[in-house]
């Protein structure tokens, strides 16, 4: 098998890698924001359940959560496809971290502004949507972008439940051809080539955002 066909077959796996990462990212952002807001609310009885959820999500390895979603749930009759199981497992473990980014970002907005918004008659939701969230976004967005890069790498775990992504294709190939070293090197090279520029670009974007916020 030539190098070109190997590379193009492996790059074909990028489609599913991106699907897993993008899906998990969306789950993590939505769930993370809900958790962050849940920890801010003063409603009785919400603090402990959320704290327990966040702690549980942060202490379980992604691979174990993936096994629970894929093998565990199917044994009680909930059959998720490998892709959906990977999206949910990676999304939920990531959400614990995203909720911290949201919390840290929301804390940068002074309480006085929220008080002022309430005193001119804005509802709690309107205060959040119009005052707090827009100002928190420059602080929250870069770590969220970084979490996407992290998910691109974590998407390799989906190969363990048979999602046809880059690593899975690589393992298929070296079972057929036996050229393990070459193929794993190509897989590593694909990740290096894609994620280093992405990480650098995010760092530059973050500096740019911060400079604008400071000004």
């Amino acid at each position: 098998m030539t190098v070109e066909t190997t590379v193009s077959y492996l790059l074909g796996g990028l489609v599913l890698t991106l699907q897993v990462a993008a899906g998990a990212w969306a789950v993590a952002v939505v769930f993370g924001l809900i958790l962050a807001l849940g920890r801010e609310t003063k409603a009785p009885g919400t603090r402990w359940p959320i704290l327990v959820t966040v702690t549980a999500m942060r202490s379980a390895p992604q691979l174990v959560v993936l096994y629970i979603f894929y093998f565990g749930l199917s044994s009680v009759g909930i059959n998720l496809s490998p892709l959906v199981a990977a999206v949910l497992a990676l999304g939920i473990t990531e959400a614990a971290y995203d909720s911290e980014y949201f919390r840290a970002g929301l804390l940068t907005v002074p309480q006085a502004q929220r008080d002022a918004a309430q005193s001119i008659g804005l509802s709690q939701f309107a205060t959040f949507r119009l005052i707090t969230l827009p100002q928190a976004i420059p602080y929250v967005f870069p770590p969220l972008l970084n979490s996407f890069v992290g998910l691109l790498k974590a998407a390799t775990l989906a190969s363990a439940v048979g999602v046809d992504e880059i690593l899975y294709r690589g393992q298929n190939l070296f079972q057929i051809t036996g050229q393990v070293n070459e193929i794993v090197l190509i897989v590593m090279a694909i990740y290096v080539i894609f994620t280093i520029p992405l990480t650098k670009a995010i760092a530059i974007y973050e500096r740019h955002l911060r400079a604008r916020v400071m000004a």
């Binding site: 702690t55 549980a56 942060r58 202490s59 379980a60 390895p61 992604q62 691979l63 174990v64 959560v65 096994y67 629970i68 093998f71 565990g72 749930l73 199917s74 044994s75 009680v76 971290y97 911290e100 919390r103 840290a104 970002g105 804390l107 940068t108 602080y139 770590p143 970084n146 979490s147 890069v149 992290g150 790498k153 974590a154 998407a155 390799t156 775990l157 190969s159 363990a160 690593l167 393992q171 070296f174 393990v180 070293n181 794993v184 090197l185 897989v187 590593m188 990740y191 290096v192 894609f194 994620t195 280093i196 990480t199 911060r210």
Partner: protein, 225 residues
């Protein structure tokens, strides 16, 4: 299961110790006066942070596998190698930040006394950087414990692999993997508590970094890519 948990703990402990050593070495190299040394450290960090841990594990398992057999290393040690190469890249970035957080004025003062670079590092910078680095080191240990579950995929007999075997024998994946999650939580949560307790007592590295401190406490158990 208990024996396998011991494997997980030893795997994590050995990896943690080696990662701290390698990360310290890389962090110092990353701020070394010589540009070539800095470039090498920088490249190491960039490359190993961009390779997924699972890919690195598989690479080490197959590529070093034949060599490892000759020198008598089993898959446990191959997992240690892969985990260490990966974790040290992330941890060294935290350490580099901690070294740079020691104010330039102190380093300038050391230079004006005629101290050579290595003496400034040894007597002024590193002693002050150790304590603030402990919470992030513990967070890295938490990450290592969780990441060590991937070693099951290269046949290391730690808890996740044993859990897989129990699932094959009992056909009760939900109960077994939930129990496995509890086992990991039982290791990770005490570490988290200790880490938070230390964080409250020692000045965090972020306290020295003006731009970061205003976004609140950000030392959470995670490897930012």
């Amino acid at each position: 299961m208990a024996g396998a948990l011991v494997v997980t703990l030893i795997l994590s402990a050995v990896t943690a110790i080696l990662s701290v050593l390698l990360a310290t070495f890389i962090a110092i190299a990353a701020i070394f006066p010589n540009r070539v040394v800095r470039f090498c450290a920088r490249s190491y960090v960039d490359i190993f942070r961009s390779i997924p841990l699972l890919v690195l594990l598989i690479f080490v398992y197959y590529v070093l596998g034949t060599w490892a057999k000759d020198v008598g290393l089993n898959s446990f040690w191959l997992a240690v190698i892969a985990l260490t190469l990966n974790e040290a890249a992330y941890l060294s970035e935290t350490y580099r930040g901690g070294l740079l957080a020691i104010s330039q004025a102190q380093r300038d003062a050391g230079m004006s006394l005629g101290l050579p670079w290595h003496a400034i590092m040894r007597h002024i910078v590193i002693p002050q950087a150790v304590l603030p680095a402990t919470p992030s080191t513990l967070n890295a240990v938490i990450g290592i414990v969780k990441d060590s579950s991937l070693a099951s995929l290269i046949t290391v007999g730690e808890v996740t692999l044993i859990a897989n075997n129990i699932v094959y024998a009992t056909f009760k994946p939900l109960q077994v993997y939930l129990a496995l999650g509890v086992v990991y939580a039982a290791v990770v949560i005490p570490l988290t508590v200790v880490s938070h307790a230390i964080e409250r007592r020692v000045p965090s590295a972020h306290d020295f970094l003006g731009e970061l401190s205003q976004s609140g406490p950000m030392t959470i158990a995670r490897k930012s890519p």
